[in-house]
């Protein structure tokens, strides 16, 4: 099963040689965890990167005591506590499963070792980061200047089935509006 998942991951980016994949596999954890499990807590040092095989997860932070969603990850996507992972700072984010999930856990050190050792793996990580960067760029554009309804419509275009997996409150905070406002937008559809 792990082979199958890795085949799926590499098909999304670049093909990697068997040699690289074998070495990579030696340090991957496969986890099956239930909804609500916290993978990362705010303030902790984290060097973990997750790949969702089944299920979904969210990264969020607290502002004035309220949870604000920062990143959702669904099947075949990565998620990490972004500043913690890339900068080595204590995490500003929590990561929590929003459904019962099967996921892979990678370790930053091991990823870096592989990136340094294999040019192909370095390219692979660059492509993964580029994808995250472009997703963030899209979010900036619609957070900058658009109405609550435009934000919601944009999100639905990106993730048509998000409602099946993520609660209204989390969706609202992700697009920068209150849950009451989102509820009213939904009502008039």
């Amino acid at each position: 099963m792990l082979d199958e998942i890795i085949a799926k991951i590499t098909s999304q980016y670049d093909t990697l040689s068997n040699e690289i994949i074998e070495e990579w596999k030696s340090d991957i954890l496969m986890l099956e965890l239930e909804k609500g499990t916290q993978l990362v807590r705010e303030g902790s040092y984290t060097n973990k990167l997750f790949y969702i095989y089944k299920g979904s997860a969210k990264a969020y932070h607290l502002k004035d005591g309220k949870a604000i969603a920062d990143w959702f990850s669904f099947e075949h996507e990565f998620i990490c506590a972004i500043t913690g992972y890339f900068l080595g700072h204590p995490s500003e984010h929590y990561i929590e499963l929003t459904e019962d999930s099967i996921l892979l856990e990678f370790n930053r050190k091991h990823i870096n070792i592989l990136s340094n050792k294999y040019h192909d793996f370095e390219r692979f990580t660059r492509n993964a980061i580029t994808k995250i960067m472009l997703q963030l760029q899209k979010r900036v554009v619609y957070l900058q200047f658009s109405t609550a309804k435009e934000r919601y419509d944009f999100l639905l275009k990106e993730y048509p089935k998000i409602e099946l997996h993520i609660s209204l409150g989390d969706i609202a905070s992700y697009i920068g509006i209150t849950q009451e406002t989102l509820s009213r937008i939904r009502a008039q559809k």
Copy 2:
């Protein structure tokens, strides 16, 4: 002078061998252009990446006929029409110099050739993209849920001297508020 600039760039990320630098130099254009010059226009295909050595530039797009700033770049920073460059789509952005500037122009094809040929160069580009990604992440956080004043304070912390280089209207659109609101925030300092 080109050598000096390249030394500065690589010192910000990773050291590159002389061999790589020589090959890289063979396809770099150095430009001295005046304020207001448009480097990229909306709708055009663009495979150019710029590095600001002196001066500054902005990327912006039009929404309902109004210019909305997406990215500022100051001395020793990169700028490109992000979706055009990374996805090969017609550009959604304009890029324009906000001051008389000296800049380097790189070509995507050449960058990609170097990245494929040299592992060290691949790592260098990954680091540059990671930096852009982290900048975008920070912007998302403050655009998501903060008041006009919080956004402005945050921007000033990031770029204390931005006022010397960028007009009030551009700054306002960058943080997602109107210029009248920004003017009033400034007034009560």
